[in-house]
Every structure is written in C-alpha cells, then in structure tokens.
C-alpha cells in the first residue's frame, strides 16, 4: 500500500490507509503475481498465442490446407516466413490454425476435467462414508491405469475429432483435482461455519457450492492451469504418434508427425512446431508456478 516515502508522510499515509478498505485477497495475489517476471512473460506469450489463434483466418498469409506441389519443402523465405511442408503448404499459416485446435483442446480438457474432478471430489469429501470410500477407490484405480497408452487405444479405435479427443483427455486427467477438492472438503465438512450453515437449514447443495467450494478455488485454479499444459502435451504426443487428430486438420502434434520424415531435408518443419509447443507449455507452467507462489507466499522463499 504505502510506498517508500518520507517517514512523516508515510505515517500520514498509514492513517489514511487505515480508513480505506483493507486490500482484498485477489488484489494481494495480483500484486505478488505482477512481481514475478517469468509469470508475466508467460501471460504475455499466452495472450499473444491466444490472439493469434483467435485471429488466425486474418493473420495467416495463406490457406493452411492449400496444396502447392511446386513450392514443396521450401526453407523459410520472404514469401513463406517459416517455409513450406512436403505438400507446399505454408508452415506459418498451418501453425496459426493448429494453435486453434491445440489451445482449444487444452483449455476444454482442463475445463471438463476440473468440473468432473471438483464435483466428484466435493461429493466424496462432503458426504464421506460409503460414497467417499467408493469415489476414493475409483480415483486410486484411475490413477493406476496406464493413461497415455489407453488414450492411444481410444484414439486409434475411434474416429477422432477435437471434441472426442477433449473428452478422452478429460476422462484421464480429472483425478488430481478430485483428490485436491476431496481433501479440502474432508477438512472443512465439520468446520464451524459448515455446521452453522447446516444448523440454519441450508440445503447440502448450497453448503457445497456456496460455503465450501470457494475455499478450494485457489488450488483448483493452479491445478487447472497445469492441466491445460498437460493436455496440450498429451494431445501433441498422441498426434505425433499418428493417433490424434488426423490431417488435413493441422495440430502442432501432427505437424511434427509429418515433419519427422523430412528431418534431414527440411529441419525447419520439426523445429518450428516443437518450439511453439514448448513455448506454450512453458508459458502455462510459468503462469501456474507464479499463481501458486502468489497465492501461497510462503513458497516464495524456497
């Protein structure tokens, strides 16, 4: 609140600030987050990526699927800033459009996973007993399943669309959030404010969503951020193995799948898509890390 000022004026400022409303938790978090250069870098990169994906049709210099055999495998040049692929398609345009798919899949996977995880975790933690035992065992079971190979099986056996891929990825990644929310609810289910709400006859649903869930928002937010990164990585792995979203729809992963045949003659194909994936995932991780530190400043000293 008070910045470095002359001692006397700072005491005046203190008096003034005493009368003002105390700084809200959100403002505190934002103030700490703002001081983390890596997190800010992440936010900047992600904003740019999101904008470029959003405005891909206007930004892309070419049609991402326009085949032009006469211009195949051109290294980066003035006409094609990032070169062309084996079918003469413009790499920059494809990267921009691929960003739409990859980012969407990442965001929606995290969204669905958080909803499912929070719901199951809340139910388990709030009701306890048999329901909790059942859900907890189910979480354990899901955590022991070979997730990536299973996702492979599904995307190989089912005609894969971005929506289906999102659901598959969400189905194998909600467990972390569920555990987290369950833990928080187990801790708070007999807290005084919960009992108070119950005593005045608040229905269970109201207690769960209005009184308890907000307590878990911060860790959920961090987990959700990291889930987006995780989903983008898994999506690209699946596509890279040839089991993800199929061409001609470009994703960063299937562009790499295609690129591996031209490592020697057209290395730019592999380099650019990989750099974009790494940059995206790293930015998300920086933001997640920054959020975690901003929410829990005790971690900062580490």
């Amino acid at each position: 609140m008070t910045t470095l000022q002359h001692p006397t004026s700072s005491t005046v400022a203190d008096l003034v600030s005493l009368r003002q409303k105390p700084e809200s938790i959100q403002a505190q978090v934002w103030r700490r987050f703002r001081r983390n250069p890596l997190a800010l870098f992440g936010v900047t990169v992600l904003t740019l990526l999101a904008l470029s994906a959003l405005f891909a049709p206007w930004l892309a210099p070419y049609d991402p699927n326009a085949v032009n055999p006469y211009e195949a495998l051109q290294p980066p040049n003035a006409a094609h800033w990032l070169g062309t692929d084996d079918l003469g398609r413009d790499v920059l345009s494809r990267l921009l459009f691929a960003g739409r798919v990859s980012l969407m899949v990442g965001l929606f996977t995290a969204f669905v996973a958080v909803i499912v995880g929070a719901l199951l975790g809340a139910i388990a933690g709030y009701y306890g007993g048999l329901i909790d035992g059942f859900i907890a065992r189910f979480i354990d079971l899901m955590l022991s399943l070979p997730v990536v190979p299973l996702a492979l099986v599904f995307s190989a056996f089912v005609a894969i669309t971005p929506l289906r891929l999102t659901l598959i990825l969400a189905a194998v990644s909600w467990m972390g959030v569920a555990r987290l929310v369950r833990g928080e609810f187990l801790k708070l289910r007999h807290a005084q404010f919960t009992e108070a709400a119950r005593s005045i006859g608040a229905p269970n649903m109201r207690i769960i969503f209005v009184h308890l869930l907000p307590n878990a928002i911060s860790p959920i937010l961090v987990a959700a951020t990291l889930l987006v990164a995780y989903a983008i990585l898994i999506e690209s792995s699946l596509s890279f193995l040839g089991f993800g979203i199929q061409p001609p729809t470009a994703t960063w992963g299937n562009m790499l799948f295609n690129a591996q045949r031209y490592l020697r003659n057209a290395p730019w194909l592999a380099i650019f898509s990989g750099v974009v994936i790494t940059l995206t995932v790293a930015s998300i991780n920086f933001v997640g890390d920054g959020l975690r530190e901003a929410i829990d400043p005790r971690l900062k000293e580490r």
Binding site: V148, V153, Q260, T278, A282
Partner: protein, 317 residues
C-alpha cells in the same frame, strides 16, 4: 515396515482386479476388431472373418471373455498373440528388458544430474544463476519428449553423426549397445531430471534454514560437510518417494521415446498391437504397466513411511 509392505501389497490385489476389468472393457468395447484388418482383402470372405472372430472367442459375451482371460492370467497363461500365435508372455518378455534398460538408465542419469544442480542452486548460486536454472528446469518439464528426441536425432545423429539414429545395437557388443542407448536415455532423462532438480532445490533451501544446519556451521564444520553430511542427507529422503511417483510418467515417456528412436521395447510392441487390434498383447502389456505403476506408488509410500512412522502404523485412512 515389513508388515506395512505386506498390507500395501494385499490392497493392491483388488485394485489390480478393478484395473483389469476396466482395461478389458475399454479395450474390447470400441467398434471393430482384429478381423477388420482383413476386411478389405480379396481372399477373405465374410464367412472367413466370422469364423476368425469365433475362433478367437470374440463372439462370446464380454463377461465370459473376461472370466476366461482372468483365469488364464492368474495361472500364468496370458493368452496368445493374434499376430504370430506365440504366447503373450513370450512376446512381452522379449521386449521388456529393452524398456527396463532404457528406464533405469534414464532414472540414473536424471538423479545423478539433478542432485548437483539442485544442491548447487540451493546453497551456492547467485540469484542470476538460480534464475537461469529455474528457467531451464521449467523448460525441461515443458518440452515434449518426442520433440527433444527428434532434435537429438536431427543434430547428433544426422548432422554430427555422433550417435546412431535408432535401434538397439548388436546384441553381442556391449559398446555398440551403450552407443545406441545414450540418445534415448538422455532424452527420456531430461523431463525427470528437471522435475527432480526443482524438487531437490526447494527441499534443500528448506533444510538449509533449519537450526541444526546453523549449529553445524557454527561449530566450525567445513561448508562441504554441512551441505552434504547434514543438509543433503535430510533433504534427500523424500527422493525415494519422488522416484516412485515418477515411474508412471517415466513409463509413458519411455513408450514415446522408443517410437522416436526405434528402440525395440514395450512401447513399439504396444503401438504395433494397437494398430493390429492385438487384444491379448495389449491386455498383457497394460497390466504390466499398471503393475509397475502400483509398484511405484508402493515405493513412494515406503519412502513416506521411512520419514513418517505415522503412515506405517496405518493411521492414514
């Protein structure tokens, strides 16, 4: 401790049973089947395909198939590979050593590099250096394994010709095998290494602020002794847990790395079997991975148990 391990192993049995059921349904449920591969073939009539499904037992109700499979699994008969009629156990055991070799080497590299990095950044480094390491470990976590693999192949196998681009080397020649192992092992190690280093760093920073570390410094012990004998020893206990929890990621990482480097391990067996809908091999391989995952969480729990006796006595659930 022994009782604790036995108890944990016993709880693993119903878990494995549940996993096998889920896996069985998920693998067999999607439309289509192994006969589809021959569906377009001019020499295979519809009757042939139907007979094939019948012979493979795929026309039985799913529960019946599952019970048959389970009975075999328990008695060591994991079924027969659709591809060549050999027992699934043989097909898997033939590939398993390559995967284990890759995973263990990577784990070793990851730990061996992460410890000095984590300790150094926590005790010695200036803020600038710490910053650089922070950025690099974060990048290490974020970079997709298959892409690092492609880059390593492109640069070190293609341009520089230092390592082979794939394969496992001649079986009788240890040196050639190591030569082939180096690329995939380093690539696979990177992600785990970055994670470990971040962890060791934060746990070292915490321990270095403890009173007993200050006492050790105060009584005039050499810095080296304080850091390694006193601080690191305590900071490193949870490393066992960390390694246990890393196992699942290491396995799935190994699967992808194997494909990139044509490493003849489980990963390639799985991708081949997915394409061919080789159900028995898939079930066998997935069960093995699930087993390794459970083993990993057991190791992790044992690691916790070493530090925190409360867990050992079963206070937890």
């Amino acid at each position: 401790m022994a009782a604790f391990i036995v108890r944990r192993l016993l709880t693993a049995i119903p878990l494995l049973l549940g996993i096998s059921m889920v896996l069985f349904v998920l693998i067999h449920l999607p439309p289509g089947g192994p006969a589809d591969i021959y569906a377009g073939s001019p020499t295979a009539s519809a009757a042939d395909l139907a007979r094939m499904n019948e012979n493979l037992g795929l026309n039985d109700p799913l529960p019946v198939q599952y019970v048959k499979w389970l009975r075999g699994m328990v008695t060591g008969d994991w079924g027969v590979s659709y591809k060549d009629g050999r027992p699934v156990t043989t097909a898997i055991l033939e590939r398993l050593p390559a995967t284990i070799q890759l995973m263990l080497t990577s784990l070793l590299i990851a730990v061996a590099l992460a410890i000095p990095i984590g300790v150094f950044t926590a005790t010695r480094a200036q803020r600038g250096a710490r910053y650089v390491v922070n950025v690099f470990t974060m990048l290490g976590i974020s970079v997709p394994t298959f892409w690092t693999g492609l880059m390593v192949i492109m640069i070190f196998a293609g341009r520089l010709g230092w390592i082979p681009a794939g394969g496992r080397g001649r079986p009788d020649d240890l040196l050639s095998q190591l030569h082939h192992l180096i690329g995939p092992a380093l690539v696979l190690a990177l992600v785990s290494m970055a994670g470990f280093a971040r962890y060791i760093h934060s746990s070292m920073v915490e321990v270095m602020q403890e009173d007993y570390v200050r006492t050790a410094t105060a009584k005039g012990l050499a810095r080296r002794t304080v850091v390694f004998r006193h601080a690191f020893r305590n900071a490193s206990i949870p490393l066992i847990t960390l390694i246990g929890l890393e196992l699942p990621r290491l396995i799935s990482g190994a699967l992808v790395t194997e494909v990139v480097f044509s490493w003849p391990g489980l990963g390639r067996l799985i991708t081949e079997s997915i394409l061919a809908r080789n159900y028995p091999v898939l079930m066998g391989a997935f069960m093995l991975i699930a087993l390794m995952t459970i083993l990993g969480s057991l190791i992790a729990d044992v690691g916790y148990g070493l530090v925190n006796p409360q867990i050992r006595t079963g206070e937890r659930r």
